[in-house]
Structures are given as C-alpha cells and as structure tokens.
C-alpha cells in the first residue's frame, strides 16, 4: 500500500533514457473513482497508467517521454486545473451529510487501484466511493452512520 501524499512530488524518471522528466504533480482517477488512470508530470502533461512502470518510494518511472500527452477530454482538463484535487476535499454522503475532509488516499501501487480514502471522519473503503468532483467526494453513507446521525 502506498499513500498518495507520499507519491506526489516524487521524481518522474524515464525508463528509456534514465533521465529525470519532471516531478509527479497529481493523478487522475476514473469515474466512479476506483483507480488511477493517468499521472501528471509537472509542466509536461499526462501519462496513462499503462505507461507507468513503477510507483516507488523514490521515483515514479514511466516508459518514455513519448508517452506524455495533453489532456484528452473535459474531465482531464478539469483535473489538470486542480478542480478535482483530493487533498482537503469535502466528503459528502449520498444522503447529503458531510463526513469530513480527505486527508490521504491509499493505493495499491502495483495496479493503481484505490484501496481506501482517509478522511478526518475515518477511513472510507473504496467500494463506497461514488464520485469525485469540484465540490466534494461523494461516498455511500453507511447504514450504521445513518442510524447514529
């Protein structure tokens, strides 16, 4: 398991040239958020997860600089603009109740799959994630939480 906060800001290296390409600026998730579909190299563009060969503690390694591409759709544009950044994002249940804010995201670094989201209101398992938007992360409200609320 890797915390996303530890990966953000690490060097991005090219496997083809062993050169430093930039640093890992942010990641882009699919909808609903289940896994990383692309990573953003600072000042360059996006690299699809399929072209990321490793997300280590010291570097993110991409196949080559040739895989860097611009945003391909509106959602990727918004992600690159920071609208979908997760850190500090409000967490809202599908019942309309605020549960806290996002503090970190736990990833399986070999597959890019989200394992859980850490929030100020507790850990939310990935199967409860419904949407990540400009306003909030929408999660399925737990029955127990609803009863307590």
């Amino acid at each position: 398991m890797r915390r996303l906060s530890e990966a953000i800001g690490t060097r991005v290296m090219s496997k083809a040239t062993a050169e430093r390409v930039g640093k890992l600026e942010r990641v882009v998730f699919d909808v609903p958020p289940r896994r990383v579909v692309a990573v953003q190299v600072s000042g360059k563009g996006l690299v699809d997860w399929s072209a990321v060969s490793g997300l280590g503690t010291d570097a993110a390694v991409i196949e080559s600089e040739d895989h860097i591409r611009p945003a391909a759709d509106v959602r990727e544009d918004r992600a690159l603009g920071g609208a979908l950044d997760w850190k500090g994002k409000r967490v809202l249940s599908d019942h309309g109740n605020e549960l806290g804010t996002v503090t970190d995201i736990e990833l399986d670094e070999s597959t890019g799959t989200i394992e859980a989201v850490e929030t100020t209101g507790g850990r939310v398992s990935a199967d409860r994630l419904l949407a990540l938007g400009s306003y909030c992360l929408v999660v399925r409200e737990e029955r127990a939480a609803a009863l307590a609320g």
Binding site: L92, E98, L137, L147, G149
Partner: protein, 197 residues
C-alpha cells in the same frame, strides 16, 4: 419507519444549501427557496440560485421528485440533468404556489381555536422525505412563553386555504417545544388519528 434513523429539518434551513450531483460531486446550484404546495400539503421543489456570493437566480427549478436525498449539509440529485428548465407545468406550479406561501398562514383547530401562525415547515428526512409538521409562532394558547415557538404535527389529511390551515383539535396534545422530540410526537399523533378513525 424508525424515528431513530430520521432527521428533522426546518424547510428554511435548506435555503442556501448546495445542490450536489451524485454522479459528479459538483455543486451545480443552491437552494433559493423551498416551494410548498398548500393544497397538497407537500413540498413541490426548490427554486435555485447559482453558486457563490453573487449567485443569480436560475431559470431552472428542482422538482421534489428529482431530489435523491436531503441531508444536513446538501441537497443531492442523481445528475445535473435532473434540474428542470423546460418543464413548464412545474415552473408554473412553482410560481403559483409562491403566492400562496404557507409561511404566515394562521392555524385553526376544527373547534375554532386559533393556534398561531406558521413560521416554518418541518421536513422529516427518512428514506422518503415528507412534511412532518409546522413550526408555529405567536401562539398564546400553546406555549406559556409569550411568542414562543412550538411544533405541531401535520395530520395525514387537513384542510388548507391560501390564508389558513385547519387542524384537528387533538393536535394540541401532541405539541412539542423542541425539534429533537418532535419526531416521536409526529408518530404518536398519527397513531392517535388512525386509532380514532
């Protein structure tokens, strides 16, 4: 339905709440006003403002049927397309009902006693949100504290006009002076009405 799993909200508390999409996580509007149909004793929907401090009135409205959930912090809808902008029938209904706003209506019992004036509508949020009752202000008969506010449960049926609400006299026995205890009060009142036919 267990009252333990439900939440009571004043309709006016919803004003300013963001309208958030379940599929996008975006706040696409905020509640400007709550539209209450006196004839139906039900919430018809919401008029909307754009988000932000300078948020302008939106032409689109949110029909009650399109509300996925009402929470303590947001009104949830499935998708942005659930806002109506070409549903002329609903828009007209919204406009018409605003002229017959229940807030300010006088409340009378069927014995001819004036209980006060409606200051807010209380919504019971459960699996299916519904109107649970009214907050009544300026009541001389229901509260020892002059001008204090109390809550009265809404019977499942009642007579309404543009200016007044008619409630069964029995409602007096189910008045509650705090919102926290009101859920139980509503259930006891409805049970009472059912048992007395």
């Amino acid at each position: 339905m267990s009252t333990g799993a439900s939440l009571l909200l004043r309709a006016t508390e919803l004003i300013g709440h963001p309208v958030v999409t379940l599929d996008g996580g975006d706040d696409i509007a905020e509640v400007k006003d709550v539209v209450y149909g006196t004839a139906q004793a039900a919430l018809l929907g919401f008029t909307l403002n754009r988000r932000g401090f300078w948020g302008r009135r939106m032409k689109q409205v949110l029909a009650w049927d399109h509300v996925a959930a009402l929470g303590a912090h947001a009104v949830m809808i499935a998708t942005a397309g659930d806002l109506d902008d070409n549903d002329e029938a609903l828009v007209q209904e919204v406009k018409g009902s605003r002229q017959r706003n229940v807030i300010g209506s006088e409340v009378f019992t069927d014995r001819g006693e004036r209980l006060g004036e409606v200051t807010d509508v209380v919504i019971l949020v459960a699996d299916e949100p519904e109107v649970a009752g009214y907050e009544i202000g300026g009541s001389q008969v229901l509260t020892p504290r002059a001008g204090g506010h109390v809550f009265i449960p809404l019977p499942e049926t009642l007579a309404v006009s543009g200016e007044a609400l008619m409630v069964p006299a029995a409602v007096r026995d189910f008045v509650c002076d705090d919102l926290a205890g009101f859920g139980a009060s509503v259930e006891r009142f409805r049970e009472h009405l059912r048992s007395t036919g």
